[in-house]
C-alpha cells in the first residue's frame, strides 16, 4: 500500500507539481509593475537568458540534477518519455525567466549582469559538482543578483527615495556618461521577483529529491539482474564486490 502511495505521490510531483512550479516561474519571471502607472509590464526573455538557461541545463546534467538517460529512454513508455521531455522544457524556460527576473532590463548594468552570469556559469562547467553543491551555488548566484538589482539598484533609482539616494543615482549616471540607464519599477516588482526565485529554487530542490528517489529503483534493477545469474556467476559477482579496492 505504501509502495502504491509512494508511486502515486511520485507521479504527482513529477508530472503535475514540478511542471506547474516551473511554468509559474516562467510566468512571473518577466512580470514587472510600472512605477507610475501601476500596470503590468511583461518582458519577454532576452536572447542572453536563453544562453544562460542552456548553460544551466548543462550544469544540471553535470551536477546530477537532471539524468536524461534515466528519464528518457527507449525502454520507458512513450507517455513517460513525453512527460519527462515536457518537464525538461519547463525547467529550461523557468531558468530563462529566473535569469530574466534578476537581469536589469537595459543599459550597462544589463550587460554587466549578463557577463557576470555567463562567467560564473561557464566556470562552473569545469568544476566538480554534486547536486547539493550545485543547488547551493545557484541559490547564492540568484540571491546575489537579486540583492544587487532589486535592493541596491532599485533603491538608487527609486523616485520615492530621499535626496541622498537620488543624488548618488544621478552622480553614478553622470560618471558613466548616462550608460547606466535603467528602468524603474514599483516596489512590488521586487516581491514578485523574490517569490519567483524562491519558487525556482524550491522546484530545483524538489527535483533533487525526485532524482534521489530514483536510487532504490536502480538498486532494485541490480538486485533483479543479480537474481537472474547462475550460482557460479553470483559467486563471481560477490567476490568482485568484496574485493573492490574502493571499499
Amino acid at each position: 500500500m505504501s509502495q502504491t502511495n509512494r508511486s502515486r505521490n511520485r507521479a504527482l510531483v513529477d508530472f503535475v507539481v514540478l511542471p506547474f512550479l516551473f511554468l509559474t516561474v516562467a510566468l512571473l519571471g518577466g512580470l514587472r509593475v510600472g512605477a507610475e502607472s501601476r500596470t503590468f509590464i511583461f518582458i519577454t526573455p532576452p536572447l542572453v537568458t536563453l544562453l544562460l538557461a542552456t548553460l544551466s541545463m548543462l550544469l544540471f546534467v553535470r551536477g546530477g540534477l537532471l539524468s536524461f538517460h534515466q528519464w528518457v529512454g527507449s525502454d520507458l513508455p512513450p507517455l513517460t518519455n513525453v512527460a519527462h521531455i515536457w518537464m525538461f522544457i519547463t525547467i529550461f524556460f523557468a531558468s530563462a525567466q529566473a535569469f530574466n527576473s534578476v537581469l536589469p532590463e537595459r543599459g550597462l548594468f544589463h550587460w554587466l549582469f549578463s557577463f557576470f552570469f555567463l562567467w560564473t556559469l561557464w566556470n562552473n562547467q569545469f568544476s566538480s559538482f554534486d547536486t547539493r553543491r550545485l543547488l547551493r551555488s545557484l541559490t547564492i548566484l540568484f540571491a546575489t543578483a537579486f540583492v544587487l538589482k532589486h535592493i541596491l539598484l532599485a533603491s538608487l533609482y527609486s523616485p520615492e527615495g530621499g535626496w541622498f539616494k537620488r543624488a548618488a543615482g544621478t552622480l553614478l549616471q553622470g560618471l558613466t556618461l548616462g550608460s547606466l540607464d535603467t528602468s524603474t519599477f514599483a516596489a512590488v516588482t521586487g516581491y514578485i521577483a523574490f517569490f519567483t526565485l524562491a519558487l525556482y529554487v524550491a522546484g530545483l530542490i524538489l527535483l533533487a529529491f525526485a532524482v534521489n528517489g530514483e536510487t532504490p529503483v536502480v538498486t532494485h534493477t541490480l538486485v533483479h539482474e543479480y537474481q537472474q545469474l547462475s550460482a557460479a556467476q553470483r559467486l563471481a559477482v560477490r567476490e568482485a564486490i568484496i574485493n573492490d579496492p574502493k571499499d
Binding site: T4, S7, R8, A11, L12, D14, F15, V16, P19, F20, L23, A26, L27, G30, S37, T39, F40, I41, F42, T44, L79, T80, V82, A83, W86, T90
Partner: protein, 166 residues
Amino acid sequence: MQTKIIQVAGLIFTIVYAAFIVWIYATEPRTFKEVTTGAEVAAGTYEINQGNFNSALSLFRHEQFRAARDEWQRADPAQRDARTQFYIAYSFYREGWGRVYFDQELFKQGVEAVNRAIDLSSASTLTIDDPDLHIHTAAELKAELEQGLERNWSDVNPLKVLRTRK
C-alpha cells in the same frame, strides 16, 4: 493505472497552463481587468457595455466627441466590436473636420478605427442604420477620412469653405 491517469492529467493541465502563459505574453494585458476581458474575447463571450455605449452616443449627438470616445472605449475595452469602432472613427471624422482644413492627426486615428471596424465586421459591408449619420457604411467613412488626408490642388480652392460635414 493511476500513475498513467496522473501523467495524462498532468500533461493536459500543464500544457493548458503553458498556453495561457504564451497568450499572456503575446497580448501583454496591463491590468487584471484586461486579463479577464482578453479571456472573454478568447472564449467568445465578450460583450460591450451597452450603458456606456448609449451614454457615448448621447454625447456624440451633442458634439462632445472626446467624451464620447472615452465612453466608447470604456464600452469596448478590447476593441472587438465593429459598431463601436465605427462610431469612434466617425467621432474622429466629425471632430477633425473643418471648413478650411482637416485635422490630420484625428483623421489618421479615424482611419485606424475604421480599419478595425472593417476587420471586425463579419458581414462583407459594415452598415450602421442610424438616421443621425450621413455616412452609413464603413467603406464610405474610410474613403472620406482617406480623402481628408490627401493633399492636392483642390485644397487651395476657396469654394471648399462651402462644403458640408457629413
